[in-house]
């Protein structure tokens, strides 16, 4: 007879132990991961020390007015970092995936508490806590033990708010991204946001240079009354004799945390069943054309080359990771010259545009990894290596060469030297060709499997740093290889376009030939390398 056990009361410690155990098992016997973990440890330690020092400065120098601005803004940046950094760069900490608890008889309240506490037991939380303790140091210097106590309470509250906010946002995000289309869209959006950070930073710096400090102080005071800044101003308030503000601000933060936990618990349930019910694809509209015309473009030759190129072009658009790479490249291509031109010095704008030609081929450094084991199709049908390499480069060039032309035109217009456009385009082609020549053999020799995931968060978390090193080396190689053409154009600008074209095409042909013969010898090994395990 089956027993029906009483619902057990589970505390939060099993969750914490589970998380630590999973982290430990993930490291066992994997030196590369241990190295990454230690590097993460060092980075977190540096962050903690640096943050602590910065936040302790107002107290040590006895300058409370600096703290009045630094604390709310610094705290708000930290909190926003908790939301956006995992989404953009690090990937979400999914050590404890709610879906794994779906079948266990746990109350939602237990689950929330457990997962929340488990999230606190991690490097980011510890580093944030250590860094913000600097504010307590400041408060103690400025206002004695009472201020320090209030500051400590605020810092702890702030940490809880960070964790609750990031968990709630990520959970809601994960729920919203159940369908493949939504996930694809989110990946692109994240790429756009990530690519626009650089230009934003430059703009922000420009604004700060001209800002007047009165308005900054007002904004800081207002921020101090929002949940973003409230926890971090408690100590200062006591030190400045505004102790009456403390209970109000604590209430604000507590209400915000409560609201977030409620939101999280709503979406958590959906996240738990999320993996069970897969997304159903739309039954698409019908297309009356023949299959061949559906695949090929009007201009494609009706041959193997045409089929390979058409498939690559469609993949650059339909495969999200590739489209994200294209979007990032586009943003870099347009905004690098623009933002440096605004920052002043048109010489640097020309120089940065030159870099775009070298960045462009990097998207191909792991071109076989994007499609993974689907490469078996080309292997089973016996596509020769040269044809494979040429068709892939042709599809990439279809997107890239117009972009390079655009970069040359934009740079020419911005620097007010339209005559230089052709020269600029020539040097871009030279670096692009040289980059391709370096990247194509790398894509055959140093291919690696990308995680076979449907999540949009694996944008940059997969792969590992060491695997992307050959691509970075190719970037610098292409820059160096482009220098001769750059030098040539500084003497005879009119030579830029023809020389760049010939130089780039020659380099490309050499690299493609090398990569093609290499591929002919290594096809099964390449397939094995890009097949996710």
């Amino acid at each position: 007879m089956a027993l029906t056990p009483e619902p057990v009361r589970v505390g939060v410690w099993p969750f914490v132990r589970l998380k630590l155990r999973i982290t430990g098992n993930g490291l066992r016997g994997r030196p590369a991961r241990i190295v990454m973990f230690v590097l993460g440890l060092i980075a977190a330690g540096l962050f903690a020390v640096l943050g602590h020092t910065i936040f302790a400065v107002p107290g040590l120098l006895d300058r409370p007015e600096v703290g009045e601005i630094l604390f709310p803004f610094g705290g708000a940046v930290l909190i926003l970092g908790w939301v956006f950094l995992p989404l953009l760069f690090f990937g979400v900490d999914n050590t404890l995936d709610p879906a794994q608890f779906a079948l266990l008889p746990l109350r939602r309240r237990t689950l929330i508490a457990g997962m929340g506490v488990a999230a606190l037991a991690g490097l980011p939380a510890l580093a944030t806590f250590a860094a913000t303790l600097g504010m307590v140091t400041s408060a103690a210097q400025l206002g004695g033990p009472a201020a320090a106590l209030a500051g400590l309470a605020g810092v702890v509250l702030g940490l809880v708010f960070c964790v609750a906010l990031s968990r709630a946002v990520i959970s809601a995000f994960a729920t919203a991204l159940r369908s493949r289309r939504a996930r694809d869209l989110a990946t692109i959006m994240l790429a756009v946001v990530a690519a626009s950070i650089g230009p934003l930073e430059l703009t922000l710096l420009g604004v700060l240079n001209r800002a007047d400090w009165d308005s900054v102080e007002v904004i800081a005071r207002v921020t101090g009354w929002t949940p973003l800044g409230a926890p971090y101003t408690l100590g200062l308030d006591v030190a400045a004799g505004r102790a009456w503000a403390v209970p109000l601000k604590v209430l604000i933060v507590l209400a915000a945390v409560g609201g977030l936990l409620w939101w999280w618990s709503r979406t958590l349930e959906q996240a738990m069943v999320g993996t069970a019910g897969g997304s159903r694809g739309r039954t698409g509209t019908t297309d009356a054309r023949g299959p061949v015309d559906q695949l090929l473009f009007r201009w494609s030759p009706r041959s193997r080359f045409g089929a390979l190129t058409a498939r690559e072009v469609r993949y650059w658009w339909r495969e999200t990771r590739r489209r994200a790479a294209l979007v990032t490249l586009g943003m870099a291509g347009i905004f690098l010259p623009i933002s440096t031109a605004f920052a002043g010095g048109d010489g640097s704008a020309t120089g940065l545009a030159f870099v775009v030609g070298a960045i462009a081929p990097i998207a191909l450094a792991n071109q076989f990894g994007y499609e993974g084991s689907a490469y078996a199709t080309n292997l089973a049908t016996g596509v020769p290596g040269r044809l494979e390499v040429h068709s892939r480069a042709a599809a990439h060039a279809l997107f890239t060469v117009p972009l390079l032309l655009l970069v040359a035109v934009v740079t020419g217009l911005l620097t007010d030297r339209p005559g230089d456009m052709a020269t600029q385009f020539g040097t871009l082609l030279a670096t692009y060709g040289a980059g391709l020549a370096l990247v194509l053999p790398i894509s055959v020799r140093a291919a690696y499997a990308l995680p076979d995931t449907t999540g949009p968060f694996s944008l940059s978390s997969g792969g590992g740093f060491s695997k992307t090193l050959p691509g970075l080396a190719a970037l610098f190689g292409a820059l160096i290889a482009g220098v001769p053409v750059l030098v040539l154009t500084s003497f005879w600008p009119w030579l830029g376009l023809p020389a760049g074209l010939v130089y780039g095409a020659g380099a490309y042909l050499l690299g493609a030939h090398l990569a093609g013969t290499m591929l002919d010898r290594r096809m099964p090994e390449l397939l094995a390398a890009v097949t996710p395990r």
Binding site: R280, V292, L296, S303, R311, S373, T381
Partner: protein
Amino acid sequence: MSLRGLVKHFDTRLAVSGVSLEVPAGSFFGLLGPNGAGKTTTLSMAVGLLRPDAGQAVLLGYDVWHSPAEAKALVGVLPDGVRMFDRLSGPELLAYHGLLRGMPADVVDQRSRDLLDVLELGSGNRTLVVDYSAGMKKKIGLACALLHAPRLLVLDEPFEAVDPVSAALIRDILQRYVSGGGTVVFSSHVLEVVERLCSHVAIMSDGVLRLCGPLAEVRGERPLQDVFVQVVGGRVATGSELAWL
């Protein structure tokens, strides 16, 4: 298809140790074995997707590793667990396969439409293969393998995750293909299907070929299930342990 002494190591593990196999032309050949027996590894080496550490694979008289172009032109492959170019729609994927095989565009169109209609995938269907159900993915994979009318079909787990109606359809297509002179080699662990379809079977476990021959000889008087369990070993019944269940 003829395999001679195929060996494959993965790191230190021996996945396939010296498999030799003769598949007679015109036979319907079932490769059986439990999970992890080395079926997929063997078939991958046979069609040139995985380089063996030792041994030879000869398809219709051509060595896969010495004259790959000729050998691959005569074979249709449905690899298991291998993603297709799934960001294409079904018709696009078929056209891609056809053009890669060097077929004229009008023949590709004609045959793709036929296959899509017979397999009920729809020749104007714009849904991407990534959004297909598991059964539909198997069917489009089979269509890709059949498109160039190969003389040998190598199918890895063609009946896995396929609903009964589609399975019957696939069985019918394969039977017609064999009666027209083609050769089918497929792996499976669904014994009923193998018993119903195959003229020849081979049983693998732990990377070694245990039994091989015409179905009647291998089976004798017993059901194939009993032969399989006896050859492979392993437990099929519980003792007194789970009394609390």
